[in-house]
Amino acid sequence: MRFTVDAALLPRARSEPAALDELIGQVWPEMYRVARGILRDRHAAEDAAQDACAAIARGLHALKDDRAFYSWMYRIAGRCAVAAARVEDVRVPVAAAVNDYDDYTIALDVRAAIAALPPVQRAAVVLHYYAGLSSGEVGEALRMPSATVRFHLMLARKALEKLLGGNEAADGRCKHA
């Protein structure tokens, strides 16, 4: 898993409010990135990421194995974002969403392409290719069988390949490696 938090922080966060705040501060960027990858609107992403952080804070005491923390938190982020995406897809036209991406050229292409996918495919791509969850874990987050996740990933791959077909292959590694 690429993203890590301070290992000593998890047990402390269960009992110390200050440590919990610190943990939220550490996971917040990842929660937001996952939500932003799935949601087209940055305000909706912020709201979903806040929901995910709140869910993590509420559920942390019930997490028995700290080694499962990362996949657990990504699953929560995915679930919150997908729930928001069901509403968002009604409100945000694709063209507006694509125009909203104003960062780097390659990122623009890839994120605009991801934004053009249906919400479930977006979530599957972000959780599988960015968060590194297995299809089973993605299925748990999206409440669907892993075979269905693989099917959505296959559809997403085809769509992304088509959308990005004209671009040069991008190099580079995950920034959070």
């Binding site: 939220i24 996952v34 409100r91 990122a107 290719y129 960015y130 409440r143 995950c174």
Partner: protein
Amino acid sequence: MRDIRDMQPSICDAIGGVEVPAVNLARIRAKMSEPKARPRTSYVWAALAAAGLAVALLVTPAGAMQGIGARFNAALRAIGVMPPPRPPAKIIRTLLALTHRVDIAQARKQVAFALVAPSGLPRGVTLQSIVIGTPASFSARTHGWALNAQYVQFNYRRAPGGEFSIMAQRYDPTRRLSAYMWEPLEDASGNPVIRSGRPVLLRHDWLHWRNGNQLMDAITSGAITAREIAAVRDAMHGVPLAAYKSKGPHPNGKFLVVKKP
């Protein structure tokens, strides 16, 4: 054509390069103390339930409200949708207390928007009553009931025996409008109709328009067509409002959708 394996670093870069706003710990703490959202079947069913129940409450005399609620819930279960829980007694009491018949002058005094009465109605239509009230809706997100904005309902009768309503309420630009109203089809004894093993839903057109700060809407039925509703809207010089055309409460084929003629 690029392979997904080539794209993965780009995906990581694209998502990882997202500019992250500062964490709002106060907002997160506030969300932590909110009631936990229960798993929901679908957001669309919430719209269906809210709209359906609101309509059920509005068109029904107060005394029969509980019966309608039970019937509506049975219809929801029949189409594989988890019905909302029974509204708390406090909500029901408030609904009943706030719902009463008025005349147009009284209605204008009581609402917080400039009430424009429907005009341009089809021939043979007579106004039966004007009801002012407050609908309740169930939120799948908070798993709670809430009272919505005040409405005025114009109830009409059309010979021979058809009835329909036109609703007015304060315009809210954030409100999501649906282009369709879904109704489980029932047989003569009130049981859901099953065709090819799947319950049947009727799709009614739902038209919305705006006059100043008033939102008005009407649903097609056997007593009024979409064209006639549009004629009312045009006669009132209403501004048509765009609405979301959903594919139905369950886009997985659990039911059959039939557009009502």
